[in-house]
């Protein structure tokens, strides 16, 4: 935490904001670990893409957002949803496919959305959220809203066409959108640098005039500061910005991938840079210590265990729900 003494006073460097940042990361970690355990126990069907180790990106970016700001996410989106304000209990219900889940059991882990807090949905298609965020920003601008749109995507997404199209589009119309490349270094099972030519997302963004900033994606304070700076520029009407946050995925691509192809030393080295512990080091200099951290962790653990127990006990959606929310004109039932 070499940079901590140089932080600007208006950048959230006070104990209340730092504690909130810390609590968000701890809650994301607790949610992911609880979901993984539930999946392992056979309680959650389907694959999970968890973000253990990447919590600082979600927490830092979302700390700079307002409730009315919109966010699109990717397949690894639990953390983004929690940081944007979604309720873990309803998320857990959705992971279990139960009644009361955010998507009434029709989306699951990969499609968590909570429109009431501006979370416009996770996405099962890499780069799928980019054009949607760009369009949301365009619509918000048209409606004279002060809200902005944020798009979270991974290092794999920069090799898909919508990345180029979306950046060009957002720059062309000077749209209020923040692109966040959450770079965990691995596109599914392939190291991103082995399939990505050139100097990376910032260089690509700058080639079409979108200013960008790189940040240590395991440093929640730095992510928050950079996001806040870029978002201030966006809100002042200067068009889109890109934040490139380098981080690391502690687990495999999905809940069933042990990712044994990775050198354990590499994983250990990144675990030593745990974003939660790093923030503890900063908080430790502000009269917080093990008891406070433990209290926050226990609270988060309790919250997620409760969510798990409630989801496990919750009823399945009624069968008729499979036929609802399709469309108004031309909707069908089983016996039509």
């Amino acid at each position: 935490m070499a940079a901590k003494s140089k932080r600007s006073p208006d950048a959230g460097d006070n104990i209340r904001q730092l504690t909130a940042l810390y609590r968000t990361m701890v809650r994301i970690r607790a949610f992911e670990e609880t979901a993984l355990a539930a999946h392992k126990a056979g309680e959650i069907p389907g694959p999970l893409h968890v973000s253990v180790g990447q919590e600082a990106v979600a927490a830092g970016v979302c700390a700079a957002l307002r409730k009315e700001d919109r966010l699109t996410s990717n397949h690894r989106g639990h953390g983004h949803a929690i940081a944007k304000g979604a309720e873990p209990a309803r998320m857990m219900l959705e992971l279990y496919g139960r009644d009361g889940g955010y998507c009434r059991g029709k989306g699951g882990s990969m499609h968590i959305a909570d429109f009431s807090v501006g979370m416009l949905g996770a996405n099962g298609v890499v780069a799928g959220g980019i054009p949607i965020a760009v369009g949301a920003a365009q619509g918000l601008k048209m409606l004279k809203s002060e809200a902005i749109a944020v798009c979270m995507f991974g290092d794999g997404a920069v090799n898909r066409g919508p990345f180029l199209e979306g950046l060009n589009w957002a720059m062309l119309y000077k749209l209020p959108v923040l692109f966040v490349c959450e770079d965990n270094g691995v596109a599914a099972f392939t190291r991103a640098d082995s399939v990505t030519a050139g100097a990376g997302p910032i260089a690509r963004a700058e080639a079409i005039g979108v200013p960008g900033a790189s940040v240590d994606g395991n440093d929640a304070i730095a992510v928050g500061e950079q996001a806040q700076r870029l978002i201030a520029e966006i809100r002042s009407g200067r068009g889109p910005r890109l934040l490139h946050a380098k981080t690391y995925r502690w687990t495999g691509h999905t809940s069933t991938d042990a990712a044994q192809w990775r050198d354990p030393k590499e994983v250990e080295a990144w675990k030593a840079r745990c974003p939660i512990q790093r923030l503890e080091a900063v908080l430790g200099e502000r009269d917080m210590g093990a008891p406070e951290f433990a209290a926050i962790a226990t609270h988060a653990q309790h919250e997620m265990e409760e969510a798990r127990a409630a989801a496990k006990a919750a009823p399945w959606p009624k069968a008729a729900a499979a036929f609802e929310d399709v469309q108004d004109a031309g909707a069908v039932t089983w016996q039509r």
Binding site: V125, I130, V326, Q327, A329
Partner: protein, 323 residues
């Protein structure tokens, strides 16, 4: 009432809705110049650059941005220029637009229209002539509209813009110049109701889009031979007027579905299958489809004509069914 072309009818419909509702806007290549076909002529001047957005040739983002803008409460009309270009935006259409409402448990309401001028037109060859409406009938979550008259272009476009469903609107580009009567205030036409164009007891002839004019020609030629058919223009492919078709086939006991699209796995197959399911083979003397052979659309006029479903081919098919 004014007599206008189909393209003008569509222009008037969009203009009416954009005047009525400030949330309606249009995006697509060259739309600020009036659109490739002139279907947005004068819009930039009337509605301004924020609501008439000429875009880069970025079909994926034209489609996806339209969706994003719909998710925050605007009502976009997404112009695809020519139907075939929608292939560049299939993820955004199939995986995103058609799914968001369902996948997010009803939180999302993608009220948008995708306009896709389709079909054969002046020897435009394989990538500018396709009719793949059956693909989209197969896709849950969308409404599929394929008008064939100026009246329907106007009324169905108004309905599409007012609908909260994502509506795929297939403009029949070979029919841009057909004339029709459009009221001063265009009323929406409900989806799923066929238009009965000719009546008769011999055969039920079902069709849509550019094939309607060929079917009228065929029906009139058959009438001169003393064979009267029920001719139904389906107008919308999903939902389609199943009850209307069934009612007619109960009377005629014979069904021919004619479409410009490839016959194999075309929407005609679905109609035939449904009708046979509902009426039972004992009550039907014949049910068949007539579509294009399973080849890409060739360029040369001589070759293009070869693969077209024509009025003569419809007459021949009906005559054969009555033998």
């Amino acid at each position: 009432m004014a007599t206008v072309s189909l393209i003008e009818a569509g222009r008037l419909a969009v203009q009416q809705e954009m005047r009525r509702d400030p949330r309606v806007w249009v995006l697509g290549e060259d739309v600020a110049r009036g659109g490739l076909w002139g279907q947005y002529k004068g819009f930039l001047e009337e509605f301004g650059a924020e609501r008439v957005v000429s875009t880069p040739i970025s079909e994926a983002t034209i489609m996806g941005a339209g969706l994003g803008a719909a998710l925050v409460g605007t009502r976009p009309i997404i112009e695809m220029r020519i139907f075939d270009f929608v292939m560049c935006a299939m993820d955004e259409l199939v995986n995103q637009i058609a799914k968001v409402r369902y996948m997010f448990g009803g939180q999302a309401s993608p009220a948008l229209v995708v306009r896709m001028p389709h079909g054969m037109w002046r020897n435009s060859a394989a990538q500018h002539s396709q009719m793949l409406e059956a693909w989209f009938a197969h896709l849950p979550g969308v409404v599929v509209v394929a008008p064939a008259s100026a009246e329907d272009e106007a009324g169905l476009l108004v309905a599409a813009i007012q609908s909260d469903d994502p509506v795929l609107f297939f403009d029949p580009k070979d029919l841009w110049q057909v004339q029709g009567e459009v009221a001063e205030t265009i009323a929406p036409i409900p989806f799923g109701r066929a238009r009965l164009l000719r009546t008769g007891d011999a055969v039920t002839l079902v069709t849509w889009s550019a094939m309607v004019s060929k079917a009228i020609e065929a029906a009139d030629a058959l009438a001169r031979q003393g064979i009267d058919v029920d001719l139904l223009d389906l107008r919308t492919i999903w939902p389609w007027d199943e009850d209307g078709v069934i009612k007619s086939v109960r009377k005629t006991q014979r069904l021919l579905v004619a479409h410009e699209a490839v016959e194999v796995a075309g929407f005609g197959a679905e109609i035939v299958a449904r009708v046979v399911d509902r009426l039972g083979t004992a009550n039907i003397k014949g049910a068949r489809r007539l579509g294009a052979p399973r080849v890409p659309i060739p360029f040369a006029p001589r070759l293009e004509t070869e693969v077209r479903v024509t009025a003569d081919k419809i007459v021949a098919a009906v005559t054969q069914m009555l033998r």
